[in-house]
Each structure stands twice: as C-alpha cells, then as structure tokens.
Symmetry: C2
Subunit: 368 residues, 2 copies
C-alpha cells in the first residue's frame, strides 16, 4: 500500500524527471528522490544519454544518508549494463531499504529491476502512476514500434475550422496556448508540418526561447508532391537545428534544389508516392523517437487515417469560423470516422480550451 | 465583507432556486435560506408565476425564528407589487436583520430592493456571485431585449464535424452528455431546430423523462423555404407540448397543410424570406423567453452570424470525422469569423468534453 507521502515524493520524482525532457532522447526522462526519516536526503534526474541515471544522481547527493532510505523513482530502476551500470545494483549496494517506482520499464532489455531488487531483499513497489506513465509515453511507443511516437497538435475554432484569410492563417489561440505549444516542441525530438503549411504560413518552427538541447532539434516538412519554395524560413540555417524534407522518390528531380538547404529523405510506396508510414520509419532510423505534428489539414488527415497518431493536443479558441475564409482543420478527402480516442485532459487554458487524449488503450494505470 | 458561511448559504439558495427551472418562466428562478444562530431556520424557492416568492416560502417555514435572522436570497428581493407583494416589505416586517443576495435584479420594475431594505435599517449586501448571475442569465437577456434568450447546443467531433451517414446522424456523445442536453431542455422554455434536422434526424424533441412542467414546452422548427413532411415525429401530439413552425409568409400556401398539426408563425423580411430576428421576436410575443437551439448547421450559422446566440453549449466527442460522411457543424455559407466568445466552463463530461461560454460581456461578477 502506498501512503499519501509516497505519492507526494513520487510526484516530486516526476517533476524532476521533466527537467530532462528534450535532452534525454533516446532515453526516457527519469527523476529520483531519496527520503530517510521523512526528509529528502537526495534528488536527481537523468540529464542525457551517457550521463548518470537519476538514481545515481540522487545517491550521490545523499551520500551516507542513502542507507535505510526509500528511493522514489519515476521509472522502474534499470537492471542492465548500458553506457552506465544497472541502477538496481547501485541501490542495493548503497543500502536503500525500499524502492517505489511510478511505472514499469517498457524496455524489455532494461526491465526486471523490481525482481532484482526483491531478490536482494529490498521492498519494491510499482505505483502504477498515471503521471509517471505519461512521462514515458513517447519512449514506450517508440520502443514498441518501428516509427517515432507521433503527437498531433491542432489549434481550431470551436467548430473545428481554421482561418485562412489572405493566404496567412492567423493565430486563433492565446498566449497560454502558445506557451503550451512551445513546451510541446521542447519535449519532442522533432516538429513536423505539411508542405501546405510551409507555403501558407511560412513558420520558423524553432524551439523558442532558445533551449540548449543536448539533442539537435529537427524540423520536418512532408512534401507529398511538390518541394517547398527555397525562400521559406524553415530552410534558414539555425544552430543545433536540422531541417528534414520527406519527399517521394518518384519526383526526386524536383527536390534536388532543396538538398543544399535541408536533408532530403525519400520515402515512398511501390508506386513512387510519398508513404507516411515509410516516412516515419525513416525518421526513426535517423534517431528521431518523438514527433510533434502541427498540421496542416492534409497531413493531419493522412496520419489520422493511417492510425499513425498516438496523442491529440487540441487547442480550441473561443471563436466560430465559417464561410469562404474558413478551412477545415482535418482534410476532407480522407475517409475518416475514428472513435478510438480517449480524452485524459480537458481544461481551460487561458481563454482557450485544451483537449488532450490518446488512442484508447488497455492499461493497468489508475493512480494520478 | 462576506464570510465562507455567507457564500455557503448563498450557494444553498442557488441550489434551491434550481428546483424552479422549467416551471417559473416568465419569472426568474429564485431560492432563499434563512439562517439564525448558525442554523437554517427556513428554506424556500419560487415554484411558478403567481405562486409565493422564495423569500415568502422561507419566511413561512421559519415562523417566529425569522426575527433577527439573515436571509440569503439568490436574487435581490423584489421591491414591487406584482401578482404577489414586495418581498422587501415582508422581510422587514418579519424582523429579518440582514439580507445577502447573489445578484441584483436586472428587471427595472422590480429593482431597488437593496435600497428599500437599507432604508428600513436592514443590512443588505450584493454578493455579486457568478453562480447566481448564471441562474438568471436567460431571464436577464429576455428582460433586456425584444427576443428570447438563445442558447446553442452542438455535439461534434473534435474537428467540429458531425456525421451524416445514411441520412441519419448518429449520436456522437455519451450518456453524460445526453443527460446534460435533457437538463438543458428542461431549463429552457422551448427547443428549436432547423427543418433540415427534422428531415434528416426526425427527432421527437420532447422533454424526457416526463417533467410535469407548469409551463407548456414548445418545439420550434425553423423552415427557411419548404415545410417539413407531415409524418415527422415533432408533429405528433404530446400532452403539454406545443409545436411551432416558423415560416416565410411568401410561401404561406405550402405551409397550409401543417396548420392542423402545429402552430405556424410567419416571420419574414420585406422580401418575404424567413427572418431569424423577426422569428425570435414572434416567439417572445408568444411568451417564450428562452430557447435551446439544437442545430442544424444552417440554423446555427444563421443565428451566429446575426449575433442571436447568447450562450454556446458545445459537446465534443473523442472522435475525428472527415470525408464524404462528414458534415460541418456550422453551415459554410454564412461568412462568420466571430471571436467574441468567452468560455466559462471547460470540463470533461463522461468520455466527452463540454465547453460552454457566452458572448464576452463587461460585468462586475467575480465571485464563484
């Protein structure tokens, strides 16, 4: 049984883990708290691949006070020798008496931590905490499939329309919603848009404010047919940012001019057309494990229709838009009637509403 | 200054007021609680036009214990002689020491209650409570304009689309959302839909479960051009329910056949076309002070474009719909880009999301 205190420290571990978002890929973010006699004696979080794990950081901070302490870790301590040693052994050797972790490690190679700890006489409890599971959602999807985790962010009017006046879509949502989108970009390995969005909106798609990422940021543009114009802002050089163009090989000639400005990756089906599944697999092969897709309507519909979206981030502005100036947020060509979504977050965000959800999954997570 | 106790009893008064919803039109719902020495000594609510006001009910329940008590009333006590006497005088005569009310009376004829009470030596405080203001929202709009209060309820996919497969729109939202819609119907004097919705969905539009309303319920169908078929369920006789057809006089001949089955009201502009403003004015003249519009897309767009919607009730199902089977929730012909909305409720409702808001207004209401 977990006490209120246990849940409090686990939440603290999750909050620490969040500091690593944007830096730790391909690893998951992890935070750890060591508590002895009702006091925190050490804290830590994983700062990047090849660097110390969260538990090791917390143990270092605790020094001799680790003996007899309870370790709260957002993720089950790893049980394998990777670039760093297994955390389970570290915890045991330093005399930690009890380990409470937020969610089991979905990575088969690293799993088995709880069993090792128990065999070493340490009480190990899986808290099955929703917040902890949410933290490794992208990691878990990327570990289980041959493509990156894909989150789709949309910002629409109440009736789902987006404005497309004068060739330039205007911001519908307020500052809080835009701040959320900035955080989402930081949390993902890459941002992705369709070529239409680059043509119409000419977004820069950088991570602002400047985030000293350990992992370079990727801007991805999906070009179904035509390349984007060479003067687009997404093609401007930015330090620590790479631009990737996904294109159909059947039209490779027309994409040659983009090659000095961006990394052009061809991904197509047997008929030479762009294939979204192949495109995502190519991204995973490049080390991209999570993608935030920010539209537009055609790309959103294509991903949704193929079941390639793992989570929706839907921002709704208190606006109704209809008529000639309106466009649909999800392209109308794809036949789509998909009810497998499950909202796990519905709340006001400034003047806007924020709905987030993922494909309905069976899971054992219940605590919040 | 109001204490936590004051707010607690005011919320209780608001909860009592809610019992009157659906019965009290054209009056506002009002609830009252009398408290002496930290104990509730009387409660009451207004049950219908011509019946006792909430304060009088509460005073009757309190008997001699009203003397020295504090009266919590969801609405400023009335100060005029209508079908019942002024509540302010009753409160003073029975020795009430203090009155706290949730919101001022927007009806000029009944207002001035606070001033009367103060002149009689009774402390009177306007709590400016959002919940109390929300209770009389429809009443206040109907009192201030020449048309009924109009609330627009929509149920859509996340991307704003509605399904229209095989000529029959299917329910997108779940049981909790449908229960909310039933409550909304009960709270309004009438439900309204466009002719297209009657043709496609053939809804019954009754108030279920059977609600013994003091005020007859009206089902309103807006026919821009053609009458609805005579076999529609909305034309079936229901006890205590009246069906009203709004039609353009220019096409009166084609509506003759409906006259034995429904009340046909002609409302048109100078060119003989249906005019939504004139239609709403006609409804107000019939004693309808609040209308719940449940679509469809054309009627919704028409009302929104003319600024005739006071509140949105937007239900969003965890579904994405696009392609040939999808329709827009707000008709695409009306040019509409209206950002004057303010969400005051955003929450999960079962598996769905519920967004509610009204046109942004300047008001002094701050407390909840």
């Amino acid at each position: 049984m977990l006490s209120e205190d246990d849940l409090h420290y686990l939440r603290r571990a999750c909050a620490l883990a969040r500091h690593g978002l944007g830096d730790v890929s391909p690893n998951p973010p992890v935070g750890a708290v060591l508590v002895r006699g009702g006091e925190i004696v050490g804290e830590g979080w994983h700062r990047g691949a090849g660097l110390a794990h969260a538990e090791v950081e917390a143990l270092a901070a605790a020094g001799g006070q680790a003996r007899g302490a309870t370790a709260y870790v957002s993720l089950e301590p790893c049980n394998h020798q990777g670039r760093t040693g297994p955390c389970t052994r570290e915890l045991a050797e330093r005399g930690v008496a009890r380990v409470v972790f937020g969610v089991r490690d979905p990575n088969a190679r690293a799993a088995g931590g709880a069993e090792y700890l128990r065999s070493a006489g340490i009480e190990a409890t899986d808290a099955q905490m929703r917040e902890a599971r949410r933290l490794i959602e992208a990691f878990a999807v990327a570990a289980a499939t041959d493509r990156p985790y894909v989150a789709l962010k949309m910002a629409t009017a109440v009736n789902g329309a987006i404005a497309a006046r004068g060739g330039m879509r205007r911001w519908l949502t307020g500052e809080e919603a835009r701040a959320l989108v900035r955080s989402l970009r930081i949390e993902h390995d890459a941002v992705m848009v369709g070529a239409g969005t680059v043509r119409v909106d000419d977004p820069q798609l950088t991570v602002r404010p400047a985030h000293a990422r350990r992992v370079p940021y990727r801007r991805i543009v999906v070009c179904e047919r035509e390349p984007i114009p060479l003067d687009r802002r997404v093609l401007r050089r930015e330090s620590n940012v790479e631009t990737v163009i996904l294109a159909p090989r059947g039209r490779a000639e027309t994409f040659r001019a983009l090659e000095p400005l961006a990394r052009v990756v061809y991904a197509d089906d047997e008929r030479g057309r762009l294939d979204l599944g192949a495109a995502l697999r190519a991204l995973k092969a490049m080390g991209i494990r999570s993608v935030l897709c920010e539209g537009g309507p055609t790309l959103a519909a294509g991903l949704l229709a193929r079941g390639l979206v793992d989570r929706l981030h839907w921002l709704i502005a208190p606006v109704v838009i209809a008529g000639a100036g309106a466009a649909s947020s999800v392209g109308g060509d794809e036949e789509l009637d998909f009810g497998g979504w499950h909202f796990d977050e519905v709340r006001a965000l400034g003047a806007d509403a924020y709905l987030s959800g993922r494909l309905q999954t069976e899971d054992g997570c219940s605590r919040d």
